[in-house]
């Protein structure tokens, strides 16, 4: 489900530029989509040898980029049932296969837990409950969506992240109409035994990166993408995000959610840009998903 631009809270501030003083900055001219790909890749950092199950263009590119750079042990697919020997360009044939992951085996893997999924969401609330089922009353919805698919199992069994290409109040709602993916508040209510595998990692959007590590388990700012200001994110979100308040005073090194300087998503390195542009997505599908 794509959202329309009409409900966006603020006009976009144009393409991101390398921020002055960004020590990790790559070449100038990285697009917002490329920043998003790298932000998605970062979600799998430290995961080791597990399946990176990605949905959405920047998410798929991020998984493959992570494997090509800092997370070589990741298992990535061709988008279907093949585990590829090497990360392949998006939409390209699998090439040599490292293994088969037919649907039934994939479902066993979900139960087993060696998998970190990055899904989409049509709605997400402050505790990370998500909805891909129906908008409006479930009995006769205003909009019947695709269905809960793997969300109930994924969120309760596997590390789960979200990739949301258009951050807007239509998606970031105070309360989801139907909970198909489990958030931190519902997981806490289930108790430690039922929620012991529940692990919401992060939410990457076209505006920033968020996690659920506020003291009450609610959404917290990790970083804003270069060129995005906090007011823009607040206007595009239907609830308060912890740590998003305008910076009070420029004091000390920034810890997420502690005020002070707004943390910034890191820029792609030159090598990452080369891999994105020349190897993984020469056709520029990423720019169709995230507007410049």
């Amino acid at each position: 489900m794509s959202t329309t631009g009409a409900d966006r809270g603020a006009t976009r501030a144009g393409t991101a530029r390398t921020g002055a003083g960004d020590s990790d900055a790559g070449p100038a001219g990285a697009t917002r989509a490329e920043i998003c790909v790298v932000a998605c890749a970062e979600a799998w950092r430290g995961d080791g040898e597990i399946l990176a199950a990605a949905m959405g263009t920047c998410s798929i590119l991020g998984a493959r980029l992570a494997r090509l750079t800092f997370e070589p042990g990741l298992l990535t697919t061709d988008g279907g049932a093949l585990l590829t020997a090497e990360p392949v360009p998006i939409g390209a044939p699998a090439g040599p296969a490292e293994g088969w992951m037919p649907f039934r085996d994939h479902l066993w893997l979900v139960q087993n837990g060696r998998r970190h999924v990055m899904m989409g969401a049509s709605q997400i609330d402050r505790y990370g409950n998500t909805n891909i089922s129906a908008i409006g009353a479930w009995e006769r919805p205003a909009s019947q969506l695709l269905g809960v698919r793997g969300a109930p199992g994924n969120t309760i069994c596997n590390p789960t992240s979200y990739w949301i290409p258009r951050h807007s109040t239509r998606v970031f709602v105070p309360e989801v109409d139907t909970a198909s993916g489990v958030g931190t508040d519902r997981a806490a209510r289930l108790g430690p035994r039922a929620s012991r595998f529940h692990d919401l990692r992060r939410v990457v959007t076209d505006l920033g990166v968020f996690d659920f590590r506020a003291p009450d388990g609610s959404m917290r700012l990790v970083s804003l993408h270069p060129g995005v200001d906090a007011g823009e994110v607040a206007a595009a979100t239907g609830f308060a995000i912890h740590g998003l308040a305008e910076p009070a005073e420029p004091a000390g090194p920034a810890e997420p959610g502690t005020g002070g300087e707004v943390p910034r998503t890191r820029m792609p390195t030159g090598e990452e840009l080369r891999l994105i542009r020349e190897v993984l997505d020469p056709g520029g599908l990423r720019d169709r998903e995230v507007r410049a």
Binding site: R149, G153, A179
Partner: protein
């Protein structure tokens, strides 16, 4: 004991109004030819079961065959929504469609329970979501060994399971390979079953990774070359991606949809 019969006869023998029908095949080997024959025979009141309803269920729903849908994901893969499915849920056109929504694993495990002769399947998922409040078919259960609260779903035993495969031999043993879904589970769980195949051969050559369905688990086999179009049958046909794109425009409008079905399904006979 499987018998090899023409497709129209197989559907006529096996599918009755009001039946629960599971048509499986994931991405590939989707039994379109059999679905079209159900539409031509004008069946009504079906409970359609499928892990990932795509265009074939959009067509069955839009033609008024279904009363109820048991599913976990309904969409046009890589394209977007199923407009006939959405119209039925949102606007009750051409008839109201009751839905029972599960996770992928919920349906897969319910087939396994059905195939195993067990009354229910157990999952860790569903807890914390809103699904248990939507249907009596998702309920909590306590593990007798650990005390952990889990979720139970009743076994699925469809009246009829229908799948498409690459090959069968003349006795009705079936072989399928490539991206496999839950075809085996659905067929073994069903009371009656139909397998359509690309071709019938004298002998099934062993293939690594192939799924074999023995003839004693199958009711009818029908030869239906190209019977998975616009999906594909690995080794025989390729996926018609253009058709999946075109379907978005065809199905968006009720009249365009009905005209397409008239011309391409109702006015045609089964392949043989």
């Amino acid at each position: 004991m499987a018998t090899v019969v023409p497709l129209a006869e197989a559907v006529g023998n096996l599918v009755h109004d009001g039946d629960s029908v599971a048509m499986e095949g994931f991405t590939h080997l989707i039994p379109y030819a059999a679905g079209h024959e159900i539409i031509r025979q004008g069946h009504r009141g079906l409970t359609l079961i499928r892990m990932t309803p795509d265009l074939i269920y959009d067509q069955l729903i839009g033609m008024g065959c279904a009363r109820r849908l048991v599913f976990s994901w309904g969409g046009n893969p890589g394209v977007g929504s199923l407009h006939r499915f959405r119209d039925a849920v949102q606007n009750h056109w051409p008839a109201p469609l009751e839905i029972e929504e599960h996770s992928h694993a919920g349906i897969a495990n319910a087939y396994v329970a059905g195939a195993s002769g067990l009354p229910f399947a157990v999952l860790r998922g569903y807890r914390g979501t809103d699904l248990p409040s939507r249907t009596p078919n998702i309920r909590p259960i306590t593990c007798p060994f650990t005390g952990e609260e889990l979720t139970a779903v009743p076994a699925i035993n469809p009246d009829v399971a229908i799948v498409h495969a690459q090959r069968a031999d003349r006795r009705g043993n079936v072989q399928l390979w490539g991206i496999t879904g839950v075809q085996k589970e659905a067929v073994l769980a069903a009371r009656r079953s139909l397998v359509t195949v690309e071709e019938i051969v004298e002998e099934l050559e062993p293939r690594p990774g192939a799924v074999v369905l023995p003839e004693w688990a199958i009711t009818h086999v029908s030869e239906a070359p190209l019977g998975s179009h616009p999906s594909y049958s690995a080794g025989y046909t390729v996926r018609d991606n253009d058709f999946y794109q075109a379907w978005d425009g065809i199905a968006r409008d009720r009249d365009t949809f009905l005209a397409w079905m008239d011309e391409n399904v109702l006015d045609r006979k089964a392949a043989r």
